[in-house]
Symmetry: D2
Subunit: 447 residues, 4 copies
Amino acid sequence: MKVASLVFLSVVSLPALAQQPTIAGKWTLTLDTFGTATTWPLTVEQKGDHITGDYAGDKLEGTLKDGKLTFHAKDPGGDGYEDVTATVSGDTITGTMIWAQNMTVAHPTTHTFKAVRNVPSSASSAPPKTHEFTPTVFRRQYSSAYEPVLTVNPGDTLHTWTVDAGGNDPSGTPRSLGGNPQTGPFYVNGAMPGDTLVVHIRKLRLNRDWAMSTNGIVPRANTPALAAKSQNKVDTVRWHLDLANNIATPEKPGPHMQHYSVPVRPMLGCVAVAPGDASGPGIRTGDSGGFGGNMDFNEVNEGATVLLPVRVPGALLFFGDGHAVQGDGETTGDALETSLDVTVQVEVLKGKRIPGVFVDNDTHIMAVGLDGSIDQAFADATETMFAYLEQEYKLTPQEFAMVLGTAAEYKISEAADRNAGVVLKMAKSKLATLTKPAPTQPAPATH
Amino acid sequence: MKVASLVFLSVVSLPALAQQPTIAGKWTLTLDTFGTATTWPLTVEQKGDHITGDYAGDKLEGTLKDGKLTFHAKDPGGDGYEDVTATVSGDTITGTMIWAQNMTVAHPTTHTFKAVRNVPSSASSAPPKTHEFTPTVFRRQYSSAYEPVLTVNPGDTLHTWTVDAGGNDPSGTPRSLGGNPQTGPFYVNGAMPGDTLVVHIRKLRLNRDWAMSTNGIVPRANTPALAAKSQNKVDTVRWHLDLANNIATPEKPGPHMQHYSVPVRPMLGCVAVAPGDASGPGIRTGDSGGFGGNMDFNEVNEGATVLLPVRVPGALLFFGDGHAVQGDGETTGDALETSLDVTVQVEVLKGKRIPGVFVDNDTHIMAVGLDGSIDQAFADATETMFAYLEQEYKLTPQEFAMVLGTAAEYKISEAADRNAGVVLKMAKSKLATLTKPAPTQPAPATH
Amino acid sequence: MKVASLVFLSVVSLPALAQQPTIAGKWTLTLDTFGTATTWPLTVEQKGDHITGDYAGDKLEGTLKDGKLTFHAKDPGGDGYEDVTATVSGDTITGTMIWAQNMTVAHPTTHTFKAVRNVPSSASSAPPKTHEFTPTVFRRQYSSAYEPVLTVNPGDTLHTWTVDAGGNDPSGTPRSLGGNPQTGPFYVNGAMPGDTLVVHIRKLRLNRDWAMSTNGIVPRANTPALAAKSQNKVDTVRWHLDLANNIATPEKPGPHMQHYSVPVRPMLGCVAVAPGDASGPGIRTGDSGGFGGNMDFNEVNEGATVLLPVRVPGALLFFGDGHAVQGDGETTGDALETSLDVTVQVEVLKGKRIPGVFVDNDTHIMAVGLDGSIDQAFADATETMFAYLEQEYKLTPQEFAMVLGTAAEYKISEAADRNAGVVLKMAKSKLATLTKPAPTQPAPATH
Amino acid sequence: MKVASLVFLSVVSLPALAQQPTIAGKWTLTLDTFGTATTWPLTVEQKGDHITGDYAGDKLEGTLKDGKLTFHAKDPGGDGYEDVTATVSGDTITGTMIWAQNMTVAHPTTHTFKAVRNVPSSASSAPPKTHEFTPTVFRRQYSSAYEPVLTVNPGDTLHTWTVDAGGNDPSGTPRSLGGNPQTGPFYVNGAMPGDTLVVHIRKLRLNRDWAMSTNGIVPRANTPALAAKSQNKVDTVRWHLDLANNIATPEKPGPHMQHYSVPVRPMLGCVAVAPGDASGPGIRTGDSGGFGGNMDFNEVNEGATVLLPVRVPGALLFFGDGHAVQGDGETTGDALETSLDVTVQVEVLKGKRIPGVFVDNDTHIMAVGLDGSIDQAFADATETMFAYLEQEYKLTPQEFAMVLGTAAEYKISEAADRNAGVVLKMAKSKLATLTKPAPTQPAPATH
């Protein structure tokens, strides 16, 4: 767990500044909430000494004098309030907050905090760079508690590799316990909650000649009749990966599969940002959600782009769980698990929050629904695609229904893990005939 | 309801035949079971007067003398038995059965019956024919209680048309109540329970310039958030079908859909055989099941073949519910509903029972799972595809799991009706590398 | 199928009446819609010759002169209309309707019809009566196509018996094919679409000393692990019913069940009204829906009351499928199936439509959710209970949520059949503290 | 994350012992697996210097001489092996393991470990004790990474309190972020993986006069129709808890709820053991699984006993999320959330692994099914109950089916959280007539 004291080590007394600092603008405030760091948006307007603005939805008013900031913020819909006393130093504000929550307004609690300015990343003017990164630790939770392994700028490209789902590296050496250990997390400068992280998969290549899988069928795809017939038996199965011809064949095929072979189509089973506290201190890497994660969607491959809503400062990108090839749903529980060479380029859409996890390729925009049952994931994908088309085209629910009814392509993407996955694909050729509203919002993608 | 008396109208006294008839072979026996006609398989071996064989799993022994047949059949695993007294006349046996069931063996009941010989249809040697058929009644149940509107031979082609789901014909005149009224049923000579009916869709074309749909979202695809936003309102929407350019456009588009258009892709929402008694006296045409029916699968279009397990003599083919174009799942409840011109060619696979409903086209063999939830339809499609690959390739469950895990394509085909639908598609290019066992069974497709 | 000609046999030419008949009031009109009888509400106001009113939501205006009625009705929200020409004779109107539907207004069709007055049943003033009824036919569809076996008045009591689910009577003699053959249908005078049929189960008793069941587990309750262990094998199992002590014991128990016994608790697996055309010409008796049917809810026993929304004139009450005892969900597929002695009393709530199927007993009011999955049945039961509490107490959705959150009892009632069942039970003791609005509507229960 | 170095701080050099130590018996070995501590069972037989036994399923053979232990263990079904070099000191073995896994046998890795003897807890002979415990930290993950707050012996009783789900204590002061912060974890001496932790809830009482809830309906229980009606709006609702009369009433009731009141029935929404590594480094306290957790089952109240399969040494008991009263399923998302006074007594069933999470009270034994959908939780509860009755009574699957079919009571216990919950209740009065096999296994419950 992220220890709050580490966060605040840099809090030191500063001499009063001669000149009045300008704090107008947007900030991200990190609060020590009973030992857990949580982040909140702060917007400040400044007129002389007078400060107004918004803290996490509460209206604030106060004073900034000689680098000392005090304000009182109030929930317009309730009794709750915050009283802040802090010191401004450049792009950093540190101090103390007395917090009275609506339900327990008679019992305020006191917390330390640090806020940093949401400046357009100074790095964004730097020329894009390609990073060569060799991983040495592999993470088994999506969590903001881990130190980033590398910091990159929007527009940068990253070349690295992933261990397989069992933790084995390209040479076949175990490097981690299993359960989809991840490469990362990577801190993306300037990515803040409310933004979208864009992950372009520029290259995704095999880097060893074998993969591990099973010959079982996951419970969701199984039936009593099939289980009675198979005795529900599952063995580990090794596949040979022919790197020259890009085909996979079982190493010890049964009688009817002596000549069975399938073309490989490498994919990343997991791509994620850190989930943030809303989902608790961390989530195991076999799981998935609105932060991405173990989606096992077989169109997350070379040439595709994954879009993820940023939840913590720096986004904290993780990826792993490479599959040489996988049928829809990963019905064997383990697909053809292997290590992979990965090249991704990252971008940040500032101020634009994509309403779910999306995958984009040449032909389709795709909403990923992830939930406890396929039925629910199906409805989730539909709702998510509506939110996207409402955002992009201002479609009404009724207009959306008409587009959906004539253009929807629904694929069952994941059946192996805790969340089932359904992907709703919309062909760009069909969306192209929709009328896009005049762009009133700037939508300023960095790079 | 099929009235038993109609079935047995032809039962007349016949003079005893001078010559001993040969009854060896397979028969289909239609029994008056408390007012409902049910069909049962009868297999007879004959040695002089001595008769042995199998009646619906019971071992039989008896005598055939002077055209009078008597036999006693006995359940090898229970107490139940049948005592038959009957008259043979050519390819027909008529008589009386005393039936003692296992659970109520002390209380036998008496039933009349008629059996007809499962001869390879004499018609099958006839040259294939094309029938022009103009429908005048439209059926709202899949049921063997309806008189066939036409009898065709395997190999024959049938050109006709369908009303839309609301019962309106190509001219726009109402011809039936709604709920997917069907053209048919067509009796296919020689098709018997245990066989497979093969329906090749040779042509499927628009025959009017409008379709009816809605702007709603069916409950399965809907969510509380989406419903709160749409107020759950649904209106009827008319679409223009441009027959020259094969595109569909809404007649009164909303502001963001002024230029929205989609290519048409005509499909049959319903293709079915009569379900037989196992499903009760009849099933409404909005429903689906192992007999096919209202599957709303948007790949049932020109060039595709539908395979259905025959359940009653003559199969009794129904079809209807044409859609000009439909997204996966028919999420609007009504797709672009229209009348269609239909040309199908039928065949019968004698003695080969396909283990579910399948659709076949140039690139894929597809198993249709139909069940109360998408989750369950997903598992059903998997089990059905296993049964098929076991039948065709002798795959073990474990071999099947490996093929599934590398080649499965799962699509949500139906969300609008009582049964959800999931289609498991397997690319023929991938199955082509499986080793097919030497053909021990003849699999004699007529034609 | 209900043959329209039977309905209209009584249409005869009548001499013009000297006196102007009074047709003001409510009528139920039965229309020959392309061979299928459908029923529609008609409300008439009369001022001299001038007629106004409402036909199925369309505003009508016309003339009644010398017993000849003509009117034109118009869809206020569309183009559709009806032109009626008819003859009035006492409580009957017969005639012809030209019907132009909104979507096909250019193509009107012509139909014959007969309307009867929704008089408060003249029988309702008759003293309640007890009918002894011995069934001779058993129906395997819920359908309005069957002739009623008996007509009863609201308030009447009916004593009869049911065969078991396999069709065997109290003596053990087969009387029908299986699949839950029903006793009935019973026509209830005065029950009209829009009313509620109330079925009080006054007595429900065993009438033979054995029941038939299985030792299997239905697919919904089964898992791959359990199926692999059981080999998915199912045998028929006979239970002895000790009528003196009201306990059930297996006839041939396995080693661990030598002394296993359970108290009997007889229940009706099926209680239904005819579904009406909305569900098609008929529904097999193994199925269920908003009309009731095969719900397999083990609290439908002596002392309970079943409430069903009337869908066709006379309601057409069916019941059957007695179980000596059944665990929740009927997980064996067949419960302890037996024949039963049944005494029910029927009532009609005129003008009050219960928003789903309900069961009522001394302690609880219970909403029955029936749908393709347990998840969906759970949500359905919730929505149905909301509609009831909104109707009875004017609860807002938010108030309902609070009551639900503190008082809901959810039971899984049905897992064996096509629809899963979830029952939401609300204790009357908890609802008793809600504030009931002043009764503005009469809610005139007959009896 | 549990830091391995902490685990091994006590590893110190020890002088060679003059006398040969006896290491025969059962041990629990904690391995530093790439930075994560995992535990494995070790069983040793000793004959002079010669050591044989079993390590996590692998057969081992080696030598113990002068306190130095070396052994080689081998997977009987594969190529994998372990080579161990260690030092024995009393009830502790510390050393190094070379581990070659089956799939990567050519690439062994080296790990440090510490093993401790599974002695019957020496404390178990101590007289049971009651601990007064005042919590100061509240955990938001079920995790073995936290230091235990207290160590107790089997048989001991523990009196403490819990904050509410939002983190507020009995005085109403916030003490933690929300999301069901837990009291604990408590280390239970002698509890080892493979045992069962028994948690008797001796007292469960309100300790403040208010609770927080909502007036919304969770998505699982919601429908498009209900959501369109409620606008899907949810507000926070405060309830007054009348501690004298044990009833709850809304503080600001709507018009129809002016007199609404319900009896309180305090319950623990969460009871858990640490999940162990199989579920990753930790699981947030809003979640549930085979380790218990946020089950929200309203029969976890005073007088009930919760049984949990132990997964890590000491079990690590957590509890929290008190509800003053809750309808089935916690349909409001938040029940009547409040702090509670809690008295529990713990026991350990050594060597007996309960096959899932169970709750036991005077009348019923109850299996808790937890899964992504209600349908799946229903099947899980069934499988879990089978495993229990197989364990206890040696029931075959077919015998189980008969008991289930006559005695099952299924309740929907949880609809609010990620896992749905279904509880299968079996009345002890019905199980009492089953024939229990002669006790061959000792089942030595401590205390």
